[in-house]
Symmetry: D2
Subunit: 317 residues, 4 copies
Amino acid sequence: MRSFEVKNRTSADDVTRLRLITAIKTPYLPDGRFDLEAYDDLVNMQIINGADGIIVGGTTGEGQLMSWDEHIMLIGHTVNCFGGKVKVIGNTGSNSTREAIHATEQGFAVGMHAALHINPYYGKTSLEGLISHFDCVLSMGPTIIYNVPSRTGQDIPPRVILTLSRSANLAGVKECMGNDRIKQYTSNGIVVWSGNDDQCHDARWGYGATGVISVTSNLVPGLMQELMFGGRNPALNAKLIPLMDWLFCEPNPIGLNTALAQLGVIRPVFRLPYVPLPLQKRIEFVNLVKDIGREHFVGEKDVEVLDDEDFILVGRY
Amino acid sequence: MRSFEVKNRTSADDVTRLRLITAIKTPYLPDGRFDLEAYDDLVNMQIINGADGIIVGGTTGEGQLMSWDEHIMLIGHTVNCFGGKVKVIGNTGSNSTREAIHATEQGFAVGMHAALHINPYYGKTSLEGLISHFDCVLSMGPTIIYNVPSRTGQDIPPRVILTLSRSANLAGVKECMGNDRIKQYTSNGIVVWSGNDDQCHDARWGYGATGVISVTSNLVPGLMQELMFGGRNPALNAKLIPLMDWLFCEPNPIGLNTALAQLGVIRPVFRLPYVPLPLQKRIEFVNLVKDIGREHFVGEKDVEVLDDEDFILVGRY
Amino acid sequence: MRSFEVKNRTSADDVTRLRLITAIKTPYLPDGRFDLEAYDDLVNMQIINGADGIIVGGTTGEGQLMSWDEHIMLIGHTVNCFGGKVKVIGNTGSNSTREAIHATEQGFAVGMHAALHINPYYGKTSLEGLISHFDCVLSMGPTIIYNVPSRTGQDIPPRVILTLSRSANLAGVKECMGNDRIKQYTSNGIVVWSGNDDQCHDARWGYGATGVISVTSNLVPGLMQELMFGGRNPALNAKLIPLMDWLFCEPNPIGLNTALAQLGVIRPVFRLPYVPLPLQKRIEFVNLVKDIGREHFVGEKDVEVLDDEDFILVGRY
Amino acid sequence: MRSFEVKNRTSADDVTRLRLITAIKTPYLPDGRFDLEAYDDLVNMQIINGADGIIVGGTTGEGQLMSWDEHIMLIGHTVNCFGGKVKVIGNTGSNSTREAIHATEQGFAVGMHAALHINPYYGKTSLEGLISHFDCVLSMGPTIIYNVPSRTGQDIPPRVILTLSRSANLAGVKECMGNDRIKQYTSNGIVVWSGNDDQCHDARWGYGATGVISVTSNLVPGLMQELMFGGRNPALNAKLIPLMDWLFCEPNPIGLNTALAQLGVIRPVFRLPYVPLPLQKRIEFVNLVKDIGREHFVGEKDVEVLDDEDFILVGRY
């Protein structure tokens, strides 16, 4: 079920050159459907501020809370409206091989430039099973493998990555196991993006990482662009660390969702099981924005604390 | 769930100017999935030969045999690859208002230029129910209403169309009730496309129709373009009538599927409940191609009769 | 994917003995989900008043407005709670052969006693396609074929039924083409249920029909039981005709939905594209109930006219 | 969307008395669909050998590889055929609150006696989010919470369980964090099932656990019944430990799937990402069966090693 139209031809090489990839937030309407207007604004702010690529429906974008038809629709929408300006990487991974196959096939059909693939979380499998899983989807197009044992309960060891790297479609790895692991890959010619914002400066400038797949760049895309393109900058990195610590005080994207609502760029709507950070943390965020400078953050409105009642939590949507 | 990006802005006016709209065939792989390579070829042949628009997943394209995610994916694919060259009209109608709402919202989100909407077939409803049904989707974007009582079991009477025509999004009507009905609309400033290939010449040149939404143009796009753009041409019309009679000897798209397989532009794969025309009819088609001229038909291969065993019928896919 | 557990063994013979089968209404909560409490009450009233079988998710039960998972869930629920007291016939037909296969397989897996199958409405197909379609599902278990050209746009001719009747699983036909057609079948040993309430008395007592698959029995199950089991009774039939005329003044189940809401046995919630009958018709219904006798109708509350604002119409659910 | 029919009334108390609950294997046909005949046999062997309950579509039963409609269908099938003999606990948990709500509602509607709920794996959430997630489903019926941080990446701490235990629907906890954690709960009157087969003997007889939710009982139900009901039996426990070690040498259910195929009670069909254990391990299993005694294992056939080519791995189904 492949298409060879020009518009559907992307090479893994094109993907390896992306340095700042934002795992974009998916905003919602009060009834839980996508808020495409707000989404378009978020994407445009990434493009204007220098992001090279976006991940659609990653864990940050809450792909795990989407039905597949919503997910593919969002990929198709993003490609159609922004595909000429930014690379669109669809998170079409799944712990079910069937679903990963189906979604990846559809994602490439609607024009995504690359797929992000996770190992089978929760269900898990053997290393041989892992390889079989990835083999089913690697042939479909440029692919980034995502390793995040703190979510999946299972590390993808280097020998699996080395096996998969024989495929011309493996663009690289989004790695959360730290900079030593990254070094191990980059020394062997494997492209890596840091999956940890607080390590990405060092990863980029000290361990050979190509760049970052970032959550923080949803908030301060320009500063993250500077961090990835502007050369070593420990001062900027240090300035951002408190924001990153705040962002990840609870499982992502809880912090991000709360922050974007406080910045007035999305409606304060959460799909459960995510709930906003508590009041004290929201006050902290306002102070962080002041410290770093409102002008570096997305949006134009004043940052607000918001009351508990301002938030809408939706379970059925 | 609307997007106002430039790429998602189409006006009903743009749609009213389309004259030759092809209800494009969806080709399949032997396991029943979409054959996107063959599909891309079919669409390109339409563009090269002058079609202005295509209907994706109409009854001809067997939208009724698709899951909605397949359907929306195909719309998104078509927009992404061909949306700059041809208007893409998604058949996001349904006899379920919920499904029509959901599909239309998604279709516009992935960039379709207009929606085709059918009245609730099979389940049917009252005239008031009809209006409520269409009202739910008309606000979403440019819309063509499709009236085909021989399939739906229920005529959409002019007073319903007149009521709906108050919406700026109503681009027009695809009408199968004959040229007098068409005249009734065009005299009142309502745009109409003929839904019957054998009446479309007269509809266009004698009854005010803007053009046709055609099945036959899948086979002979250039001749249908001539018929719609080249002025009155009873000779050409008469030449095509035997082909049209053959095409509709059984419910569409049985004839079309058979013909495209014989022309070698699609694999001879049918999703049930469609089955190929019998041998005798396939022999007739070869003769029709010779009479009209192979060069007017899509594809480059010799037209073949094909054996019964050449066809693959799939029920699970 | 078959099961041979005792609970899953039903014979077509068991099905042929059912005389009063009610195409049961599906009631809704204000948000459009199923109202299972009200549903259970409706089913219990059928059982108490002598119905032998129920159709789950027929056109009356608005299967066309259900997702398949809802539909199969409702079949499973009905089997689990009531399967020992009434035969449960799932409407697992579709105009898509794939969907019919999938739903029928699942319906038998959750214990339904028989399947109701429609010919491919809207999409239609050739007679050979019809046979292929039904052949895909007949092997799965006892089957009733449903012929209603006013909805499907295509008559299932006797020669198709005769071909299918070679299968031991064909329990019989639900026929809406009138009593002469019924006679043609019953003379040839084919079991038939009338699909038209206003013809079912004559069908049963004059044309050999086994019984009826009824809409009216949702309202007056006891009287319909009498009509089917109590011998010729033209007086009772005549008494019911005005009610039947009222019920079908608009496409079913518009009248039925309105009536059940007026009787207070369901909430006045409509899934679009269905909308309630207008005020004048609702007043007529109150008079019909008085004429026939409130005690013959389901429920205990006074029949009410209801205001337009009492009704809730849902498009997203 | 609740039903109060007798058949749908189960109390959490009924659930707390179950001692041996088997997380039942889901067997497949060569095309990847469910093999219901084999499934029915597996369930019957559990009933005959004394299991009190079964988990349908747990991680062992590969719920993570099912579509929800398959999953609910399997629950409905199990209730219909076996619900009078064994308690049916549907794993209707999900990392998406929406999916958990929808599946749990449907599972109870088709008659399951209790729900098994996992915390949001992979996506994760805050403790407050956890409580909100479980609160959405606890009201629907008897519930077992499942804690398995090695799969979910996140421990459910005792304070969350204590909060949830205020609900009369919380039957108890399936706990994998070891026997000290179990003791902490059972000392506080919270019912616990061990989620680790190798710890369940001690959990039951030394730490207050009610019983076990077991994988091993798929293979040797009678011995596991003895272990849970027959009093302290360190000898039997010791005899089973090598089998348990073998079973979990790779992520479950890889070992179980391989073993059941070798015992001839299921077809050797794997849904990816699961693949069979390698030859050496399969030889070990044959020896384990001999050591423990073939008569204690399910099935009647000789245990076989099987060749690599005997296994069928399916990615599309």
